[in-house]
């Protein structure tokens, strides 16, 4: 009688009960012949590696072993006996990937029996959740390690006894310790006031559950570097319960740089405030809701209240209803995104009215008006000076003209001969005196004109006027002069209207005509022409006189820049006529220039825009 053990041992492999195990075993099973060729494999072998048996039967076991593991596998196989041998190798699946397999191999009766379990599965879709989590953790480990090392903040882990356990690279940079020096040391080495941390420890009244943080807190602390230097820092603390012990993770941010930046901003603000406070102008920032957000000290003098008290006040409240009503339309314009400058007379805190110039510069960020910068300047002195200048010009104008009127009038009456006749030389001297009096009169008129136009005392009052009328009036005004010189003035008009100050345009045209007539020869023709262009009218005064040398074409519009220095004497000009013309044209937003060929005549041109654009001069 044989024992059941013996019976089992002696049972051939093909016995039905064992064959069933072969079918259902979760391991990879295979039987190889003596040459190492596949004879049989179980379904798990096929399903895991993807091979079907008939295809395998022409292959040796070694054919699918990773080249690097081939030699070791060959050694085991060639020396295999009846005792089971364990072997690990990488085995190629039908997809070409390798599975790491742990084999139990044995040889019996010329057959090699192999059973394998996977060590690391390339794919394991049906793995248990706990196993998956473990795998996920395995995968995360290097990522976490890299985050730990690369983090921009110091990460320090301590145990419940406040012994440092982990210390990342940033912590090394901040504190100046290497991890190897500080791990195992008390936290007090880094944070000299551990009491700041006891607060959050005391806050810990939560229970413990797994590895999730169970207490958290953020506080500002003082850190101490290896060199003894202390620094401000902010820490976040998370507490974890792990393996029965407590584990604190401290994330620390060094505020030294931020504090320095904040201090720098504060200093810069202080400088700005000191500077703006020292200025005699009123400087403010007004937000889109019309609240003051910044005021300099000058406001104190103006409004009679501490300037700091204005910040956060609505303008209507800070300035009072009367002043607010005056500035409101301009402010609204600025808060719509327009740059506004205006002059207005406003009462100061002492109730005295002062002239101010106010500029609003909108603060536009990303296309939205966030507010506006306001600059208010007391221009009363400037206004008074302007008025004084105006009065001075007026007085000079009167005081110079009054004696001239008497001199000129007397000479004029004497030259008529109605009061008696002089000897020819006496008559000649009388003519010289008269001519020079007239020249002096023109010069005074021109100097005053130019001064008043340039200073803006004369405002161009633009009205709609017919171009043809302007030409005819100018030609008519110069008719007697043309006749006296034996020169014909022809007009080429155009049917168009412009917005211009007719008196001043006529003055420009008569100045140009007067020059053209003066420099034409007897019998020549002067042409006064207007050309209708898309956005402007081009005026031309063309003569066929002596012309202007090329080097004078640019300077001819400057004061006292005549072609010939003797022109004032010979032709009675003042040297200011063209300068006046240029001022008038420029006040109309036009352009003036001259084309000339020396010896063949000149063409003076100027343009005036057709639109009714307002004169920007005050």
């Amino acid at each position: 009688m044989v024992s059941s053990e013996q019976q089992h041992a002696n049972l051939p492999l093909t016995l039905p009960p064992l064959g069933m195990f072969f079918e259902i075993a979760p391991s990879l099973l295979c039987v190889l012949d003596a040459g190492g060729y596949f004879h049989t494999t179980n379904p798990e072998f096929s399903s895991r590696l993807g091979y079907v048996l008939p295809a395998l039967q022409s292959h040796r076991f070694l054919d699918f072993v990773h080249p690097e593991d081939c030699e070791a596998t060959f050694d085991v196989l060639s020396q295999l006996g009846e005792s089971a041998v364990t072997l690990e190798n990488r085995y190629r699946s039908a997809t070409g990937s390798y599975c790491e397999l742990r084999w139990q191999l044995t040889k019996k009766a010329g057959w090699i029996y192999g059973a394998a379990l996977e060590v690391v599965a390339v794919e394991k879709p049906d793995a248990e959740p706990a196993e998956q989590a473990a795998q996920a953790l395995d995968t995360c480990q290097p990522v976490l390690a890299s985050i730990f090392d690369m983090a921009g903040e110091a990460i320090i882990c301590i145990d419940q006894d406040q012994q440092i356990q982990l210390f990342n690279r940033r912590a090394e940079n901040i504190f100046g310790y290497g991890a190897q020096d500080i791990v195992g040391q008390p936290l007090g080495r880094l944070l000299p006031e551990p009491s700041s941390l006891t607060n959050w420890r005391q806050r810990d009244t939560f229970g413990t559950s797994g590895a999730r943080p169970v207490a958290e807190g953020t506080s500002t602390v003082t850190g101490r570097r290896k060199n003894g230097e202390t620094f401000p820092a902010v820490v976040s603390v998370a507490k974890n319960s792990m393996d029965g012990g407590l584990w604190y993770t401290i994330v620390l941010q060094d505020l030294t740089g931020q504090m320095a930046a904040a201090a720098s901003i504060r200093r810069s603000e202080e400088r700005l405030r000191t500077t703006t406070n020292a200025l005699p102008v009123l400087i403010a920032y007004i937000d889109a809701q019309e609240y003051y957000r910044f005021n300099n000290r000058a406001y104190e003098n103006w409004l009679g209240v501490p300037y700091q008290s204005l910040e956060g006040q609505r303008l209507s409240q800070a300035l009072g209803p009367d002043i607010y009503a005056i500035i409101q339309p301009y402010l609204h314009q600025a808060l719509k995104g327009e740059r506004v400058t205006f002059e207005v007379e406003l009462p100061k805190s002492d109730r005295a009215y002062r002239w101010v110039s106010i500029s609003y510069q909108p603060d536009i960020q990303k296309g939205k008006v966030k507010g506006c910068f306001a600059l208010t300047q007391d221009i009363s002195a400037h206004k008074a000076a302007d008025q004084l200048k105006d009065e001075f010009v007026s007085v000079v104008s009167h005081e110079l003209r009054t004696p001239l009127t008497s001199i000129h009038g007397s000479l004029k009456l004497l030259t008529t001969g109605k009061l008696g006749h002089l000897a020819p030389q006496g008559q000649e001297l009388l003519e010289i005196a008269l001519n020079n009096t007239e020249r002096l009169t023109r010069l005074i008129n021109d100097v005053l004109d130019l001064e008043r136009i340039e200073s803006g005392l004369i405002k161009m009052i633009k009205v709609r006027c017919r171009v043809a009328d302007l030409l005819e009036q100018a030609a008519h005004a110069m008719g007697s002069m043309a006749q006296a010189h034996g020169v014909t003035v022809n007009i080429v008009p155009v049917e168009a209207d412009i917005y211009a100050d007719p008196d001043h345009i006529e003055q420009t045209l008569t100045n140009l005509l007067s020059n053209a007539i003066k420099f034409s020869l007897q019998g020549q023709t002067v042409l006064l022409e207007a050309v209708d262009q898309p956005h402007q009218i081009l005026f031309k005064v063309i003569d066929h006189g002596r012309g202007i040398p090329e080097d004078k074409l640019e300077t001819i519009f400057e004061r006292f820049q005549q072609v010939d220095a003797s022109d004032t004497r010979k032709h009675g000009g003042t040297g200011l006529g063209l300068a006046i013309c240029r001022e008038i044209v420029q006040h109309h937003h036009g352009r003036i220039w001259v084309k000339s060929i020396h010896g063949q005549g000149s063409t003076f041109c100027f343009t005036l825009p057709k639109s009714s654009r307002e004169d920007p001069s005050p």
Binding site: S394, S397, H398, R401, T402, P403, L404, T405, S406, H408, G409, S410, K412, L413, T416, K418, L419, T437, T441, N445, L448, D449, R452, I458, K459, I461, D503, H504
Partner: protein, 126 residues
């Protein structure tokens, strides 16, 4: 026909003289003179002239104030007034016309044509 009477009001006696000679050389008009707005007003009220030649810039009552006073007085309100002014600007001239002037003659004026200029403004035959 009686001689036309002109009242010339100007604080500058030299100008008075020149204007007076200029006018009387070319016309038979009678020229009466006054050295100030106040004096001129009194003369005008006492013996209303046919026209007044009035300087603008004068100490005390200036030309415009004199014109206003003349216009307010029924005895002088209809007397045509021509200004003499050194202010050559168009705006200045416009202001004078708006105040009620019949004409504006710029200084320095030509005394030989002064009367003809005045006659033009007053629509008097010359």
């Amino acid at each position: 026909m009686t001689r036309r009477q002109i009242l010339l009001i100007d604080d500058e006696t030299d100008i008075q003289t020149v204007a007076k000679i200029g006018i009387t050389l070319s016309t038979d008009w009678e020229v009466i003179t006054a050295n100030s707005g106040e004096a001129g007003l009194d003369v005008a009220i006492a013996t209303p002239p046919d026209a007044i030649l009035l300087d603008v810039a004068m100490p005390g009552m200036d030309g415009l104030a004199t014109l206003a006073a003349l216009k307010q007085n029924p005895a002088t309100t209809d007397i045509p007034i021509i200004f003499l002014t050194a202010k050559a600007q168009a705006a200045d001239r416009r202001r004078l016309y708006e105040a009620g002037a019949k004409g504006v003659i710029l200084k320095p004026f030509d005394p030989t044509t002064l009367a003809s200029q005045m006659a033009g403004f007053l629509a008097w035959p010359f």
